[in-house]
Structure formats: C-alpha cells, structure tokens
Amino acid sequence: MDFNPETLKQEETSAILDRLISHVSKTEEELQEEAEEERKKTTDLKLFIARKEGFSLGTVEERLQSLATDESTHKYTRDFINEHGFTETRLNDEATLLEIRTPSYNREDYSILVDAGEYLRIFTTERRYWTKKTIERVIDYLPGLSRLYLSADDIHGIVNNLEEITETRISGFTSKYRSYDDNRRISIQFYGGDENDIENVKEEFDAKPTRVEFKQKNSPTDAVTGAITRNARVNIPGVRAGSEDLGAETLSSLAGHFEDRDHEHFDIPASPEMENTSGGLEIDGFTTVRLTDTDSENQVALADGGGLLHEDQTFLGALKEDILDKKQRYDFTNWGEDEFIVMDKNRSETFHLGIDNRDLIVNARPETTPITIKDFCQIILEEFRSTYGIQSRSTNLKE
C-alpha cells in the first residue's frame, strides 16, 4: 500500500482503513492461486491494540527522544531508538502515520495509528518479520501505551462474537500449554480439519488457544480470513474482492471486543482508597480479579507422565519461586501464610495477592492501575499456568 503522507492527509479514517483493506483484497482467481501455490500474494493486514495511559497521538517522536536521553532507560531500548528514525505525521483528528526508518537495512516501515478513546489501534501491512523489529517494539517501549493481553477463552469468545456479523467458523488454532506443576511445554498447531476435529483435539489436550484462525462467509463462499492472538494482534491475510465492507466490519468488531474484554477484566472501578472524614475512616470499595481454571476436570488428561503435583504447598511454593522471587520485576511481603502484598517495581505500584484453592486472587490496592494487573495476569498466563481464565468483580461501597 502507498503510505505517502501527502495522499493520506485529510482523508477520513474510514477511507484510510478502506485503503488498508484493499491491500489484502483478492479476486477469486488470486485466492485460488494462493491456495494452489500455497503462497500468499500480499502481506497480511495487521492490527495491534494497546491501552493508553496518558498517551496521545502526535507525541511519538518526542516520547522516544526523551526515552533515549533518559539514563534510567535500558540500554537495549536506547540503542533501538538511536538506531532508527521516527516521523509521525498527522493525517486527521484521530489518525497519524508513523514512519520508522532502519538505515542499516535502508528501509522504512509504516503504521497507521488510530485513536479509539482509551485505546490505540495500530494498523500496518508490513511483514511480521519487520513489525517485530519495528512497530511492535515501539509499542512496547513507548511510555503511556500497553498492548492488551487476554485469556484463551477470551480470544475464542471474540471469534465467536463475529457471528454477529456473518457466519464464522474456526479454521485452526495454535495452543501453547504450560503449567507450574508440569514440566512439559506442549505446543499444538492444528489446521485443516472441520469444527468437530478441532473440538476433539481441544478436548483431548485441554488445549487453550494462544491464536485462533477463522473464516467468515459471505454466502456462499469464504469472504474474510483472519487470525487473532492473546496479545491483541489481528491478522487479515485476505478479503474476497467485493467483501471489503465485511472486512472493515470484521476489523472493527474484533478491535471493539478486544477493548471491551480488556475493560471488563482490568478496569478498577473501585479500590480501597481511604478518606478521613467527620464520620470516621471511609473506604471507597473493592475490585478483585480472579484467575481461575474454568474446566479443571480436563486436567487429568495431562496427569500421565506430567508429574502433576497436588499439595497446596507446591502451588504456593511454585508461585513464590517461579513468579514472585524469580521475576526481577516484583518485590513482595507476606501477609499471613498465603497472601502477599506485591510491588511491581517497574510501575511503582502494589497489589494484594491471595490464593483460593488453585485460583489466584488479585485485589486492587488504592494505587493499583489496570495495566499493572494486566501485566501480572500476562506473566501468570505465560509462565505459570496458561489455562487460567480471567474474571473481575467490583464493589463500590459508596453507592
């Protein structure tokens, strides 16, 4: 796609998105050739979604510059910034174009940044090989942005939500299994079967997807193909020519549902903020995020040879050893035997952590923010137990 800022300037965001979609729009013949040659004719259209925390469009260059000159910034990050060039151009009220230059390879990578209220949607058609080295690192490094992360059940649900638009089926998935009580690291990649095959495989291996692929129909044929991952990356390899509107709807639905679920899980509508008043001490309320095994009966499928351990002490010990002690990121102090006040050193915030059977309970403290809880959940899902689901509940004491 042509990323000339002069062409894109003053265009409506929807028109810019149409351009992005037309990049992956393919005729019947092209789609057939792709299938026959097993080779894609275009790069995928990609969307990354991040939560904003004081970030605003038009500040990317400035933010990166101040990161690069801040001595407390990790050398790795500073080197990255110094080895690249960045230009952010305003396209309209809600979108900018970000050019990332990599002089050592004599290349430019382009992304479109679209403001979505509390979130930022980042579109690009660059190859994943390069997005990993450019825009995804910028998202990671930029202060005030944090990429979303959801559970396996969530991304499964988000694909199911596409039924609202049109008939959708899951055409494959990738699952990476990991648990504190199991030395095995299991990866499953499954494609090509029908719905039943997929269900069978998932049940057999207690597979929780880290990536889900889907195909949407615009009768009678497949119109939009795509995939989403837990860490809020959407890939659209192809949209059938004539179904571009469906493609746009799909992108907007996926992004909207990612954002809704992030809100649902990680917002902190009430925390135990205290205030000394004429009546005594008043406390605002509570928010509890629970990481829970939704279908634990399937765990037995892994018991053979997996060395499944069952004592609570093991669970608690693993939590301390693998996460709280091992991660440089956290400091903690015990509160009772199995509760902790955990400090996230990166973010200078604490939260309260407890266990209920094999569930992890995270209670917000007054200063805890959504991103701190999201980051902790991500670390737990990736390094402690990949099968947890996320539930959140809040009580406002004042209403």
Binding site: T333, H352, K398
Partner: protein, 300 residues
Amino acid sequence: MGDADHWERQQREIESYNIFYSAFHGIDGGPTLKTLGFRNPYRFPQIPIRNRNKPAEPDVAIFNGEVLLLVEIKSGKNCNKSHLEQMEHCDSVTIEDGINWLKNAQVTRYGMDHNDLENIEPAIVYDKSRYEEEIEPYADDRLDDIASYSPILSQSKGGKLSIERGSFGENALDSFFADGVPLPEVPPPTIYLTEGLERESLAVSICLDHVIRELKHGRVELSPTDVEDIYPRRAVELDDIVHVLDFLDEVGACRFDNEKYVFEQGHQRNFLDVKRIVSEERVDDYMDFSSDQEPTLDDF
C-alpha cells in the same frame, strides 16, 4: 521484649476488619450487606451519647437509610467483661444521638437522610473458629448477658457472617443473618491499622496505606501533623506518630530532613520490609526507648 505474638495479634485484628468489610463484597452471585442497602461503612467512629461522658466507639458504623448498625469486631480468643460493657454502651445510643451523628457524618453525601433513622442496632462479631472452640465453651453466661444488648455474630474467611446467638430488633435482619453472608476466601485489604493504635500497625499503615500509594508520583514528605490528618483523631496520637516516624527513619524507610520525613522511590524494598521488622520486634524495643524515653522512678 513484650508478648512474642504481638504482631500476630495485630495482624489478626486488621484481618478481622477486612473480613467484616468483605461482607460488602461477598462472593460471586451471593448476598452482601449491600443487599440490605447498607453502604459506606465508617471505621472508628465516635458517637456522642447524651447523658454519658463517653461516646460509643464501635469499630464500624453502617447505615442503610433506616437502620444504623454499630458493630464491634473481635479477633481474640476471649470474651471479656469489656465486651459486655461496650455492647451495653452501644445499646444506650438513642435515636437522637444517632441522627446527630449521621448528620455530622454527612450521610446525605451518599443519598441517605439522617432524619430517616428508624432503629439503632448494636452487634458484636467474633472469629468463627475461636468462637466455637475457645469462647462459647467457656463464656456461656457472659455471652447470654451480651445477647441481652446485642446479637452475637461470627465470621470467617471463606465462611459466612452469620448470627450465633441473640437477635436484632428487626426480623428482616434476623432472617438475613440467619442465612448469613457468604464471605470470600481472600478478603480485600482495607487499612492496616488496629484500633489500639499500636505502633507496629501504625508503622505498617503509614507505609502501606499512605506512602506506597503516593510514591508513584515521586517522593513523599510527611510531617507528624500530616500523618495525624490521615487518620481519625480517635485512632492515633501525635506522640505515637513521632515515635513511629523516627522508627521508620531508623530502619531506612525514610530520612529526616528539614522537619519532614522524606520517603523516596528506590527505598520501596524497605517499606515492604517494615512489616517483617515489626513482626519480629516491637517498635519500642527496636528503638530501645525504655532506656532513654520516659524517666521512671528509678531514675530519680
């Protein structure tokens, strides 16, 4: 060196408040105190009583627009005579006293009218396992005496807040607390302060409830009077605050500079460590106050 379990006792007390507050949060789909319309609990209130010198000082006061519940929360394994006296005292709060206090507490801010107060209900809450194992078997008569003033409830983490003996003046409350409020296994923390304003919990509370919260905005500077403003007058004394701030200085959680105690990022580890230090040794023992603090008769 004081009682060996000085911290365990304070932690239990703090925990007991958290468990009670968790009755507002409940468990997924279960009833909570909000089901009865109760909201905005007041910790450590002082409710003046006409014709009595001392105000009523329950641990928590909660109002639902009609009923004012005065709750005394116990974490220990004894049922003292003082419990009876406290409940008698709470029971003597009149409707007028209640209305005046609610007005002063500005419950109108939360959409309630102090003039709608219909009924005042004292209640005492014990720890479930201690109640069953160590209180009920040995203090049957006293419990009956207390029950003449207020119902006796019990609570436990992952269990219920429910009535054990006696009754409220209102059937609706009785039937609600007969079924009880299911409580979460991990009650959310509220504040880390005991009613007896012990210096250990005050040290922990200053760090966890205040400094850590503020620290993400940079450094925190506190004078003793700043700290005084954070807590209800009933809960803390200036004298204790000064001792505790000096202690925090001594353990490296802050430094004294130009009349202020300065807490800085980079010392977070030390704030978290305060809990461990006070659990091993009392603040006064750590500071060795006995030798250079208040002079005793022996000094003369």
